[in-house]
């Protein structure tokens, strides 16, 4: 049985259903991420776990303990849940020093003074802020405030740590740094973490498992590799990074492969059959979409020998973006945008060949795509 269990969680704000009949199992010691665009219900789910929102329906269990059950009339107040939380705005109390901020949860638990001093010291050590105890909280930089907030949430050894977009207020460089540290911290402490973000890089790089949410529902739950490479829906596919797609029609249905004629091109592509879909989801003659992550596309000035799955096109324009090139490729009537690493340069007006390796492409119905 999973450590943290959410059953049929539903929460509305007026007419807006923020979380809709959500079921989720989170294992002990797991770094679990709720990922989605703003308004998808991820923060509401997190706040319901922490007790900051009262759900309309559903139940939440932590181990053997029932935290919320609408039907049994149970609601455990946030202060009784033994969970730590890091807020997006950090929410450090400006009238307290760093030490007082971190010591607050311990004081509320009637810990003795020497114990408080020792535990606060250890927590600040953990986040690398030893020596800043007497600073007033507002006098710290954004990254330091972030660390104090982490120390405060961890100092009383909570059973779960909740993080609500903790990195979004940091500048890009600091964000990368904190991301590394957060991962390292979780390995050291081993605490169960529930992390909310809208940033797919954060989600992919940090998580043991990711739940992708939209409209208050779960779209897919899986390891970062699973959800990135084997998205089960177009929304997940488009949310997790860029996509390069070509329209086409199925001309041949094999056992495990389909042959797709690309619209506006003479080329046909060999595409593996999607695993998660029933065999007769795709038929000969059906309009489809062939999708690939753009970094998996190779560009050639000529048709290379021994390569298949090639599509010919024309380079309309080339823009230099520093470490990358942005290409506008015309295939038939349509133009496509392609951003590739600046390894070699191609010139505008050239004929080019795009290689789409079959192990990297996925097949989608023509409707319901981005």
């Amino acid at each position: 049985m999973a450590f943290l269990r959410i059953r049929n969680l539903t929460k509305s704000f007026g007419p807006v259903v923020a979380v809709n009949d959500l079921n989720l199992d989170i294992e002990e010691g797991e770094f679990f991420t709720l990922l989605g665009a703003s308004g998808c219900g991820k923060t509401t789910t997190l706040r319901a776990i922490g007790g900051l929102e009262k759900p309309d329906e559903g139940e939440i269990y932590l181990g053997e303990r029932c935290l919320v059950s609408r039907s049994k009339g149970i609601f455990v107040n946030p202060e009784k849940r033994e969970m730590g939380m890091v807020f997006q705005s950090y929410a450090l109390w400006p009238h307290m020093t760093v030490f007082e901020n971190v010591a607050y949860p311990l004081k509320l638990r009637w810990e003795k003074k020497p114990v408080i001093r020792e535990k606060v010291g250890a927590a600040l050590e953990l986040v690398g802020l030893r020596g800043l105890e007497d600073r007033p909280a507002p006098a710290l930089s954004g990254g330091q405030q972030q660390r104090v907030a982490l120390a405060r949430a961890l100092v009383f050894s909570p059973r779960v740590l909740l993080l609500d977009e903790p990195l979004s207020n940091l500048d890009a460089r600091l964000r990368d740094e904190m991301r590394q540290e957060l991962k390292a911290l979780q390995r050291r402490v081993g605490i169960t973490m529930v992390f909310v973000t809208h940033d797919q890089i954060e989600a992919l790089s940090l998580s043991d498992r990711i739940a992708i949410m939209q409209g208050g529902r779960l779209l897919q739950v899986g390891t970062p590799e699973e959800v990135y490479h084997r998205p089960t829906s177009a929304v997940v596919r488009d949310f997790l990074g860029k996509i390069f797609s070509l329209s086409g029609r199925i001309v041949e249905a094999g056992d495990r492969f389909f042959r797709v004629a690309v619209q506006g091109s003479v080329a046909t592509l060999t595409v593996p059959a999607p695993a998660a879909v029933s065999p007769d989801a795709f038929k000969v003659g059906q309009e489809v979409l062939v999708a690939i992550r753009p970094e998996k596309v190779a560009l050639w000035n000529f048709a290379p020998n021994g390569k298949n799955n090639l599509v010919q096109g024309t380079l309309e324009s080339v823009h230099f973006l520093g470490d990358r090139y942005e290409y506008t490729v015309r295939i038939g009537e349509k133009t496509h945008l392609l951003i590739l690493p600046a390894l070699e340069s191609h010139k505008a007006g050239e004929k080019i060949f795009l290689e789409l390796k079959q192990e990297n492409i996925t097949l989608w119905p023509a409707t319901g795509t981005s």
């Binding site: 922490g50 007790g51 900051l52 009262k54 107040n77 946030p78 202060e79 009784k80 849940r81 969970m83 730590g84 939380m85 807020f87 997006q88 705005s89 950090y90 929410a91 450090l92 109390w93 400006p94 009238h95 607050y104 949860p105 509320l108 638990r109 507002p138 907030a149 405060r152 949430a153 009383f156 909740l162 207020n169």
Partner: protein, 580 residues
Amino acid sequence: MEYTETAPIGRQKASWLPSFDGGLALMVVLIGTLGFYIVYPLLLILINSFNVATIAEPPVYGLKAWQEAFSEPGIWQSLWNSIKIAIVLQGIALPFAVFTSWLLARTNIPFARGFEFGFWISFILPNIATTFGWILLLDPNTGLFNSWIKSIPGLGSVNFNIYSFWGIIWAHLMANGISTKVMLMTPAFRRMDAAMEEASRMSGANTLVTMLRITVPIMTPVLIVVFLLSVIRIFSSFETELLLGIPWGFYVYSTKIVDLARQEPPLVSHAAALGSIVLLFLAAFIPLQRKLIARRQFTTVTSQYKPKIIDLGIWKWPATAFVGLVVLLLDVVPVLSVIGGSFMVRFGFFNLPRTWTLEYWQMALTDSRLLLALKNTLIIAGSAAVIGPIIFSLVAYVLVRTRLPGRNILDSICWLPSAVPGVLSGLGLLWMFLGTPFFRPLYGTLFLLMIASILSGVTLATQIFKANFVQLGKELEEASRMSGAGFWRTYVKIVLPLMMQTMVLIAVIKFMFAAQQTSSIILLATSESRTLSLLALDQVASGGREVASITVILIMALTVGVALVARSLGFKAGIRAESS
């Protein structure tokens, strides 16, 4: 800054340095005018406390007034009474207002916006109206509430007396003591980042502990500002003490000054000596007040602003009943009692053969004294509403948008009137008008009262204008200057139209304050130039309560009525910490 006439387009200016000639003249005019009407009268008080002769006589200097004034125990007593009232009042009102603001801003108490509006109404209600309303209810002999409570078995010996120290405290609490603070603190509480409280809950604190250890401490800077603003105004309090203290010989600072100045023969130099003490006290406090208010950003407003409210659970209903009762006591009870008073044959006597009457209204509406007072009030408040915004928008514009020398002096002058008790500025103006031969014929005319009314809201008006000019994009004016318009054309054609909303707001505020003020004009008015508020004070003092209620109703109509109309037209009164 330049005038167009001194720097016509195309004329070669010597350098890129601003030309001072025209701007300097404007500055001199502004400082001269405001200084003459605001600073000079106060200096006169200081000087004349050493003048043994009476007003308009050749001065004879000496220390007699100081000696006599401070050998009389009544003077010390009145100062101490002012301080005592302030301590007790703030001791009750501040915790009360903190708790109420917290309920309104941070919890899920129903009708919070409606209750907040109730406190706003209470702030607008003139002191005279609420005090008079409570007199009708708590007079020891005829008070409606008293006779009501006596009729309850077992409570026959209970009798409240509004003419007492605690009666004065009660009247202050019911007037502005609570409502001003709630109005100032509720928005500040509301701006606080809810995550601060949620972080405390997650750390293991319940709602009450969170309020006491997180919310209120974070709000401390706001509380201190609100508290100090009240402290600065200790000596300004007037109407309540006049109505409730004089009948039993209880004087506070401002009523004592009026008493001294009105004695036969008038002891104006004694009044001046008493005035000087407080001026010296304020000299220390005005810079502090200015600093407090100029520092705008008290609260921690994060970009992730999210108005989350605390669920009170079952405590929601007692809390609603509590705030509802307070609003009822602040607004409905005094207003109803005043209105009732005007229609009853004898107020509170429900068992007379004839209980209700329109007689008093018929009498009042044909009473030439009332009609004269109404006319005076309209003229004074109307002129304050027209002239005030014009002058103070210019002052604020010069302060915000120019680099002229002397801005600091001008700004300081504008801060002065907010802290000086109205009685003192009235006394100073009286001195100036009677002591200057050129002005003497104006004594007894409405002109004096108009000057006093225009000046009484200087600080509030300039602060609101300054805040708005700061927000107004400077590029709009610079574009006008680049198009070839000079200072004045830009001011009239660009700045004023953009500021119209604020101009109307200031006009409304000035009208409201002018229509209800008493302390700053009581020494300047004669029976010919008396306003409605002064008439009401006289009527209450002489015992004509039924007639007085009609006067008070007219004052309420001119203040609350105007405020409600303005609000419904979309002018949200931006009343800030500097308001009285």
